[in-house]
Amino acid sequence: MRVALIHPLIKRTGEGDRNRLDSITLTQIPQEKSERAVPSLKQKSRFNAERLFKGILLLFSLLILLIVLAIFFELIRSSSLSLKTFGFSFVTGRVWDPVKEIYGALPFIYGTVVSSLIAMAISIPVSLGVALFLTEWAPLWMRTIVSFLVELLAAIPSVIYGLWGIFVMIPFLRTNVAPFLQETFGFLPLFDGPFYGVSLLSAGLILSIMVLPTITAVSREVFLAVPQELREAVLALGGTRWESIRLAVLKMSRSGIIGAVVLGLGRALGETMAVTMVIGNRPEIVASLFSPGYSLASVIANEFSEATTPLYLSALAECGLILLAVTFVVNGLARLLVRKKSA
């Protein structure tokens, strides 16, 4: 679904000419052939087959629409009790108390957004750097190896990331990174308080590694799509390598980069398993990144199976609804941004 949304953005970046060519060849060649080679009797059946094919494709596309609508409908239906009981205070409430049946999702929204923001802050520059290096500088042998490894990162199951986070990353953070951050930036509220390991910072770091392959792979494709002539044109005018990247590559790929980032952000917002394992699962809003937090996806995964009262289940369903809404808003914003930039 997301891929389908993003794809047009990527295409628009500079592949326009090639696309037009493709579409011409695709539509014209079969027609020509059919006229020449196929007897008229068979032509009718071919026509029918084509209509059937088109019909099936249409059905598939409608199916996607249907699935999204069904998910939305079901989420609203199952969260109706919570929507009625808490109204808007569900989104602003800070207390999540299943015993007293008071539910407020603000700490989860906060944890989801903050951990995703940390992830993006780290992974965007790194991913774009890797993608640029791979397309502009790297020798061919390195290109294949690094691309392969980046794609491999995307294939690692999230539970493995979570375990790696608990047993490798967190001990490393505790002994090396956290003391350094505390000593140097301890005056900032961001790095205040004791570091127990599981925290918003750990969740953000794990996520940054998890979204890195997505952003890298997509933006690499985008950079590759920039016509070589444009780079050469900048160089011919006396520009440096950096100027050719800035003026030709980056400028042409802007909307594609945003598409890549949105795709990565989508993964970060919805990631459940790895985040649950390292975020600390504490519904609290604290400025310090060292303190444990909680995310929307995690609370659903954690509490759904043992939630028995109708209101409890309904509140968890509303968390799902909010997560979907957050994803939609983020996607929508990015698309708006792209439209403005390309207009």
């Binding site: 299943p98 390991g197 504490r282 954690n302 199976s305 043992e306």
Partner: protein
């Protein structure tokens, strides 16, 4: 080509006959529910299958909430839950149900202090105040007072609790709510509660991992996990004032001390039991079956299995760190099973 097809068909046919040996009289029972007794239940089902090869029992450990919902919807032959159904819940079922306690388990309080490899003791008040966040350091004089001669470090107490809804949390908070009025008022008892502080680990293994990794951690675990992870556990002060280690024996002792109450109502909470050797934090887990068994074949098998579980099945419990039921409770169950009507 034809030959290959024939061979394939033959192979398929012979495979089907092998797989379906005794298909005619194999009886399948389906159950779903609590994760806490799952290791014991799966042992029971496989042992029973060895005993009676034509009986196959499938169990999905989807959590108590799911178990209750599925038995209510009659999609399974029996449900399993750590928390017994309340009278209200019982009434909402489509038919009269029996709640049969099958085994008991205890919750161990585990810690991570490098200087104290074992033998830490805690009184009721100190335990409650630790989990209320009122005692913040390990070298607090109140902890030292119960542990003379133990050198306690100047470390913050890092509380670790379950982040997912669980029967273990229910038993533990039920105990804390009994021994501390403040805990009962501010936190309360439940499968998920709003903890005043601490870090949430997902599942018993999540808590065990977190405790293992965090110096100064204090958490609670199902007893079996404490043993498997070789984590030191606290000897807790029981109602009589004795300090008791968790074990199958001390848990069965707690059940025996509450015989009268359990005979009146098997749902009676067994935490904070009287008796010299009673370990104070333990709980029963229940199977939920309909009193009217509509399918005579299945009903008969279910009844036979339950009777087996009450006798031979109990002997398998200690090996898996569960506590066998007391003799009186077994008798009580047998009487109850006698009331099941198989039509």
């Amino acid at each position: 080509m034809n030959k290959a097809l024939k061979i394939l068909a033959f192979a398929g046919l012979s495979m089907a006959t092998v797989l379906c040996q005794g298909c005619g009289d194999t009886i399948k029972l389906n159950g779903a529910g609590a994760t806490f007794p799952y290791p014991l239940y799966s042992k029971w089902f496989s042992e029973y299958h060895k005993l009676r090869p034509n009986v196959q029992i499938n169990y999905q450990s989807i959590g108590s909430g799911g178990g209750i919902q599925q038995i209510k919807a009659k999609t399974v032959d029996f449900g399993a839950s750590d928390a017994p159904l309340t009278t209200e819940e019982e009434k909402s079922m489509p038919g009269e149900v029996l709640q049969i306690p099958t085994t008991a388990g205890s919750v161990a309080v585990v810690y991570n202090l490098s200087g104290v490899p074992s033998g830490l003791k805690l009184t009721q008040n100190v335990l409650a105040d630790l989990f209320l966040g009122k005692i913040k350091k390990w070298n607090d004089p109140r902890i030292a007072a119960v542990n003379p001669g133990v050198s306690l470090p100047d470390l913050p107490v890092a509380i670790v609790h379950r982040s997912d809804g669980s029967g273990t949390t229910y038993i533990f908070t039920d105990y804390l709510a009994k021994i501390s009025e403040e805990f009962s008022k501010t936190v309360g008892r439940g499968k998920s509660v709003n903890w005043p502080m601490g870090i949430g680990g997902k599942g018993n293994e999540g808590v065990a991992g977190q405790v293992k990794q965090t110096p100064g951690a204090l958490g609670y675990l199902e007893f079996a996990y404490a043993v498997q992870n070789k984590l030191p556990y606290v000897a807790l002060q029981n109602k009589r004032g004795k300090f008791v280690d968790p074990s199958p024996e001390t848990t069965t002792a707690a059940l025996a001390a509450l015989n009268k109450e359990l005979q009146k109502d098997v749902r009676f909470s067994v935490t904070d039991a009287p008796g010299e050797n009673s370990y104070p934090i333990s709980g029963l887990t229940y199977l939920i079956v309909y009193k009217d068994q509509k399918d005579p074949k299945k009903g008969k098998i279910l009844l036979e299995f339950l009777n087996w579980a009450m006798n031979d099945g109990q002997k398998l419990a200690p090996g898996l760190h569960y506590s066998p039921l007391s003799a009186e409770l077994v008798q009580e169950n047998a009487a109850k099973l006698g009331s099941i009507a198989v039509k």
